[in-house]
């Protein structure tokens, strides 16, 4: 079971918000959508949510194509970065009942009760949403998204305004929820989300620059690495690395070599020299966290 986005492009007047973005979101997984401001994260989420229609591209769920022009994905939960309740005097219970009725839940009371218990909202059920703390407001947002047992959960900046403890609680909830669905989170809080993410997709200037699996970044963290971008084919390099059983990750236009020992770098560079391959760019570095990963990727993209 997977949500597949193929060649999604979206243009706003003169701005290319998204260009040929293809991404597969597998079931039982949390994918982080990272990128600087204006990279197209929210646009991509809104396209998946059916709020914006792509100029081209296709979205399919379980092999079934979704009509991106007219329909929204029915089994979908959406947590916006804005306050999505009606305001005024609406209580948590009234809001959740409204959402359950609009989502056509067959058993409203039992469904709300289950979600309220899961998210520890029982104590504030009769309170006005406006009067709640940010942490509780975020839980209410999540509760409305979980109503109807959605197969896809989209969260846009879910950590906004939350303190570390509140964020940790949110992470715990998301980890529990991921077993049943596809979760896509767009965020700037890379360090906080690192623990829960199974994969990371990096958007930069409307293009999907990388998709990294958890295993990939975990094996590079706390290790030296060499980033090489070649002008021509990198076959000689990858052959050499394969022979020497040196791990590497191939990116769109560069290769990241995880160095078993620091002196391997000079070995690799001299091999390239011997073969007349002059790197367009090379850089020796050390990755400490996913955040480092993100910044190195962005830096390389810009270069």
């Amino acid at each position: 079971m997977a949500l597949v986005l193929e060649n999604i492009s979206k243009n706003f007047a003169t701005v290319d918000a998204l260009q040929d973005v293809s991404l597969t979101l597998p079931h039982n997984s949390i994918t982080l959508l990272l990128g600087p401001n204006g990279a197209g994260k929210t646009t991509l989420q809104k396209i998946v949510a059916g709020l914006i229609y792509p100029d081209s591209g296709q979205i399919s769920f379980n092999g079934q194509e979704l009509n991106t022009k007219t329909g929204v994905f029915w089994k979908l939960g959406y947590v916006s970065d804005e306050e999505t309740w009606p305001g005024g005097h609406t209580t948590v219970k009234e809001f959740l009942i409204l959402v359950a009725r609009l989502k056509r839940c067959p058993t409203i009371d039992s469904e709300i009760e289950a979600i309220v218990n899961r998210l520890n909202l029982a104590s504030v059920l009769k309170r006005r949403i406006d009067t709640l703390s940010l942490g509780f407001k975020q839980r209410v947002q999540l509760a409305q998204a979980l109503i109807g047992d959605p197969e896809v959960l989209l969260l846009d900046e879910p950590g906004n305004g939350l303190d570390p403890k509140q964020f940790q609680e949110l992470e715990e909830i998301l980890l529990l929820e991921k077993s049943k669905r596809i979760i896509l989170i767009s965020t700037h809080r890379i360090r906080d989300c690192e623990k829960i993410a199974d994969r990371v997709a990096i958007l930069n200037q409307g293009r999907l620059s990388q998709v990294i699996q958890k295993e990939d970044w975990q094996r590079t963290i706390e290790k030296n690495h060499l980033k090489i971008a070649l002008e021509s084919s990198d076959l000689i390099l990858t052959d050499f690395l394969d022979k020497k059983t040196i791990q590497y990750i191939r990116h769109r236009d560069w290769i990241q070599v995880i160095l078993p020992k620091p002196e391997s770098a000079s070995e690799i560079l001299s091999l390239l020299n011997q073969n007349g391959l002059i790197p367009r760019l090379w850089e020796l570095g050390h990755i400490n966290s996913l955040e480092d990963w993100f910044f190195t990727s962005l830096g390389k993209e810009s270069a």
Partner: protein, 235 residues
Amino acid sequence: MREFVILTGFLIKEQLAKPASWAALSVLWGILAFIFGLVLEQTQQSQMSSVFWWTALISMFLAPILSMDLFKKQNRSAFFTLLRTFGISTHWLSLAFFLQKLCLFLMIDFTLLLMAVWLLYYGEPDPYILVSASIGLLGLQACYLGICMFLASLMDSAYAVLMGATSLLLGLWLLYYAPQILGTSSQTLGQIFQEASPYQHFVQFLNGAPRLSDVTFFAFLPALCLYLAGIVSKR
């Protein structure tokens, strides 16, 4: 359709649960009651056309205030966005929000009903004219609300909606006087402009002589505005 009914019911309930709504309604009821008493005392006649006229004038300024924050990129618009993820079309959403606001106008109009009952009991008003004027007033209010909602869907700034919608409604009101302004030289043009003014059609109802074109205008204009608002807010 089922979702639309649920949502409209919720929105109306939410609107009426706000103390601010009741505070505003109380003030407006007080003003209208004062006008009614004053007119009655001065004319000594059992007619309510002045009260209807004042209500129409108040509605012209009230409609932009009620719709100014409907689609702006804060609070309610985020709720609007959330509702779209449930698969409810923007046309149904626009209609639900329209009915929520129209409900407030109905509450204002309710005081006119009380006055009419009072007049029927103590005086000899023409009931046909009272009914006709009431329908005309509601049609006018629906037009104003529709126009304001369409403008609100076009603009991000609530204050731009307020200023733009008020100016537009004032302009439409002034179109009623186009024949007088343009004079005899452009009589046809003046009449065309006059027919474009919602106030012209309201006056027909107020006089107890509504034409088919007046009924059509009051049905068509709000529907068109809501349809366009639905299209615009989809983007």
